[in-house]
């Protein structure tokens, strides 16, 4: 069973899954880094984005419209959520922030279950990207290859926004010291709102892009949330490069272990996290004072 083409195709699977994890985790990590809130509803937002895309796809039949609509919908959900609820929790203990986002996650999941039932739904890949592509020694589903590309572009956009724009500079400054940014006369609460929106958007975008690969169920976000936690612990809280590298590492671990025995995928992921915690407790790219 362990052939080269098998190995390569799993390597690609890991890359696709890792890229996706990287995108979701970067949303989680910049929200945490800037706002100081660990968003336990992040997995549910990933799921919600997928369903929003599904609705748009049903209405228009266009995958591109589905991606755009799903992403924008999540931006709005994120901004509203921050304004209405999260904002009132900045000054409350971490536990309360965890509890309220945890409660929101359940509400999101149950709302979706209420409207769409628990049955799994599928969004087909766009016609141009369906079928398989020959990569020399192996064939590989075209859409999965495309996912790697799409997510890479999304990560690049996120990178440009974070590192090459004024807003990004403010956000990164906020990750290091939000109080200082506030004292410099920048309305830090508006930045928080935007960051939460961007984070939600990243999760939602990943959710709809992933929908043709894995079918949609209300629970699809739960497993993803746990994986993003491992990614963030490995990469280091508040670090965008950490989220990307951690995501790729986690994706490959899951994928390559699954090739040997799927039952051990999570065990290996856990082992990697433990190793990082023991050797570098702050994560690969973590910095002091960010927690």
């Amino acid at each position: 069973m362990l052939t080269w083409s098998n190995f390569l195709s799993q390597l690609f699977n890991g890359l696709a899954q890792g890229a996706l994890l990287a995108l979701i985790s970067s949303g989680l990590t910049i929200i945490y880094g800037t706002l100081g809130v660990l968003n336990l509803a992040h997995g549910a937002m990933f799921m919600l984005g997928g369903y929003a895309g599904y609705v748009a796809y049903q209405a228009t039949g266009s995958f591109v419209v589905a991606v755009i609509a799903g992403t924008l919908f999540m931006l709005i959900v994120g901004v509203v959520m921050e304004r209405v609820l999260i904002r009132h929790f900045y000054s409350r203990p971490h536990e309360d922030q965890l509890l309220v986002t945890f409660g929101l996650a359940i509400v999101f999941v149950e709302v979706v279950r209420f409207f769409f039932s628990s049955q799994s739904l599928t969004v087909p890949a766009p016609a141009a990207l369906s079928g398989i592509t020959s990569l020399g020694i192996m064939v590989y589903p075209t859409y999965r290859l495309a996912v790697v590309g799409i997510v890479a572009v999304a990560l690049l956009v996120l990178f440009v926004v974070l590192y090459k724009t004024r807003l990004g500079m403010v956000v990164r400054a906020g990750i290091e010291d939000a109080v200082m940014v506030d004292s410099l006369g920048i309305d830090v609460y508006r930045v928080f709102m935007v960051v939460f929106g961007i984070g939600a958007m990243a999760a939602g975008f990943a959710g709809i892009v992933n929908a043709p690969v894995v079918s949609l169920t209300p629970e699809v976000g739960e497993a993803i949330l746990v994986q993003t936690f491992v990614v963030v612990v490995i990469g280091g809280v508040g670090s965008f490069p950490g989220a990307v590298v951690g995501g790729l590492i986690a994706g490959e671990i899951i994928s390559l272990t699954s090739m040997v025995n799927p039952g051990y995928a999570y065990v290996m992921l856990f082992a990697a996290m433990t190793l990082v915690l023991l050797v570098r407790p702050r994560g690969l790219f973590g910095a002091r004072g960010r927690e």
Partner: protein, 618 residues
């Protein structure tokens, strides 16, 4: 009088009421058609939650991974009782408990390396791993997704009497008894010295460590206790259902436990039981009576979010606040306001004995620092400081803002490690030691910015500090009583008298006036009766009258004790201190008697020159 105070006067009241209610339940609830199976499930969740409440409500550690221990205990017990053919139900439950506790100890060692957010994430990840391990690698033993069917119920044979517990109301007495034992043990734990220290860790882990408690070890203790309760409850789940379900290991289990605890009220021990009752009865009601189907969970999710937003302490906490508010109405007028706090009426108090006896063969200074340097990146906070204090001295430290005084103190108490240099206390090199161990050696400080246990009373605050001195940094007297600790009451009362807070002893810290908080801050450092006491700006922010009182207090504390005091109030320091060290820009500028310092040109330059520059800058 708080409810806690009322209960503490009648020590067994809670236990007796609990027993009475548990006995009454099977006679009352059938009248309202409550399903016995639901009642039994509430008891199992309630028991599961007792341990979790000690971890979360008391110690402040929010774990999202309790399902790991619930499942572990449950499957161990179920495996023994089914596949292994082990005949003793209670013994199997206990074995499951012990294994769950052992697993909790191992996981705790890892998860507790980090705090807050990281801790939550790690516990989520770990619980998920357990679920997958149970499902795949271990499915031969756990039955995988089928679980383990055929778990027997307990029956006891005492000579002529046979006690068989089967299901429904017949099983209830067994579960109620287990819950009762669980709550009695938990009540003992939270009233023990360990319980008090756990609340201190919840309120302010930094200060709990600084007054000399081994915080990581106590956290691990709470983690293991929670795992043990979870393991036992997991075993009961198998007994209750006659089958050990694999979903015990699911993340939903941890989630439901958290939600029930928060709904019922954290930090109450009975909160999880109340929350489970609300949860399960509401679930039955929404599903069966209102025909909501799967939407019941949506309703409960919304209820939960609203409770987190508006009723932080849950149902029991809300009721307690209500009762306290109603009782307090009449007393509110009598409460002394901030101005009425008796400051001037400080009675003369005998100086407090130093318990940490300095070794008699100590030659040379009590504390000596050599070449002490601290850099933060490119910023040099302290550079090459040589400093020595003789026994019995009262040393003052002054210097302009930003001179590095507080950093210097933090290094001396080992709160932050120096970049280079050594610190020797009582002839022993303490460089690189932990703040907890240094405090246990008799060196501690009060903080420039108050570091108190805010939601606890004045008396509890001082008790926490005194316990570290009387019990050492770690002791597992889980069933001990505070009253049984020799000298605790005397030391607490004496400290309260010294800092003139006796009249405020039952007031929560959050309600104290600023000057009172500053005195309590000194009291916390004093309660561990250190041989070397460091005070960081004890006079900061005080009114002139409070300053006079506090200077008197400092003089009385200084008897028989070595002290180092940082302050900006030079008149006070010149009056108090035998010698003064002046720091400027992270270095020692000059050292001498107050008279020498007053006349020193360098010092005048440092202050006036600094002032001059500031004026130029504006």
């Amino acid at each position: 009088m708080s409810l806690e105070a009322m209960f503490s006067k009648r020590p067994l009241l809670v236990e007796i009421v609990t027993a009475a209610v548990l006995i009454a339940v099977p006679f009352v609830l059938p009248l309202v058609d409550a399903a016995p199976n639901t009642v039994n499930r509430i008891l199992v969740w309630g028991l599961f939650g007792i341990g979790f409440d000690i971890l979360f409500g008391y110690t402040g550690l929010l774990s999202f991974g309790q399902s790991a221990f619930y499942g572990t205990g449950g499957f161990i017990a179920a495996y023994l009782l089914t596949r292994a053919g082990f005949p003793y139900v209670v013994l199997a439950l206990l074995i499951g408990t012990v294994v769950a506790a052992a697993v909790g100890w191992l996981i705790g060692l890892l998860a507790l390396r980090r705090t807050g957010i990281y801790f939550a994430m790690i516990t989520v990840a770990i619980a998920e791993i357990f679920f997958f391990v149970e499902f795949n690698p271990l499915s031969e033993w756990t039955g995988g997704e089928n679980g383990l069917p055929g778990v027997p119920t307990p029956s006891f044979h005492f000579g002529f009497v046979n006690l068989d517990f089967t299901s429904g109301w017949s099983l209830y007495p067994f579960l109620a008894f287990c819950f009762f034992v669980g709550i009695v043990i938990a009540l003992r734990i939270v009233r023990s010295p360990v319980g008090v220290i756990l609340t201190a860790i919840r309120e302010n882990p930094l200060r709990a460590a600084a007054v000399g408690h081994n915080v990581p070890a106590y956290k691990l203790t709470a983690f293991v206790i929670a795992a043990a309760y979870a393991g036992f409850a997991g075993g009961l789940l198998g007994v209750l259902q006659g089958f050990m379900p694999p979903d015990a290991f699911m993340f939903d289990t941890s989630g439901q436990l958290i939600m029930q605890t928060v709904i019922g009220g954290r930090g109450t021990l009975f909160g999880p039981l109340a929350g489970a009752a609300v949860w399960l009865f509401l679930q039955d009601f929404l599903q069966a009576t209102l025909k909501l189907g799967a939407a019941w969970k949506l309703v409960l999710g919304l209820v939960f979010v609203l409770l987190v937003c508006f009723l932080r302490q849950g149902i029991i906490g809300g009721i307690r606040d209500l009762i306290v508010a109603m009782r307090g109405k009449g007393q509110a007028a009598a409460e002394p306001g901030e101005e009425a706090a008796p400051v001037a009426a400080a009675p003369p108090v005998a100086p407090m004995a130093v318990r940490h006896v300095v070794p008699s063969d100590l030659r040379g200074p009590l504390l000596q620092a050599k070449g002490l340097t601290k850099r933060y990146g490119g910023v040099v906070a302290n550079e090459d400081i040589d400093f020595a204090v003789a026994q019995g001295e009262l040393r003052g430290i002054i210097g302009p803002n930003g001179a590095g005084k507080t950093t210097f103190f933090k290094m001396l108490t080992c709160e932050v490690p120096p970049t280079s240099g050594t610190i020797v206390f009582e002839g022993r090199d303490i460089t690189g030691m932990r703040i907890t161990d240094v405090c246990q050696l008799g060196l501690t400080k009060s903080y420039q910015v108050n570091q108190l246990f805010n939601r606890l009373t004045v008396r509890e605050n001082v008790t926490i500090a005194a316990l570290a001195e009387l019990r050492g940094k770690f002791k597992l007297d889980l069933f001990g009583r505070l009253g049984a600790i020799d000298g605790l009451d005397e030391q607490v009362e004496h400290t309260l008298q010294l800092v003139n807070l006796t009249a405020r002893r039952d007031t929560p810290v959050a309600q104290l006036a600023y000057g009172e908080k500053r005195r309590l801050e000194i009291g916390l450092a004093l309660a561990s009766s250190p041989s070397l006491l460091l005070l960081d700006e004890p006079l900061a922010g005080m009114s002139p009258r409070e300053r006079v009182e506090t200077v008197k207090l400092l003089k009385s504390i200084a008897q028989g004790r070595t002290m180092i005091v940082i302050d900006h109030d030079m008149d006070a320091l010149f009056e108090l201190a035998g010698r003064i060290t002046v720091l400027q820009e992270g270095r020692v500028l000059v050292e001498g008697t107050p008279d020498e310092i007053k006349g020193n040109a360098l010092v005048q330059e440092a202050y006036l020159g600094g002032l001059h520059e500031e004026e130029l800058a504006t």
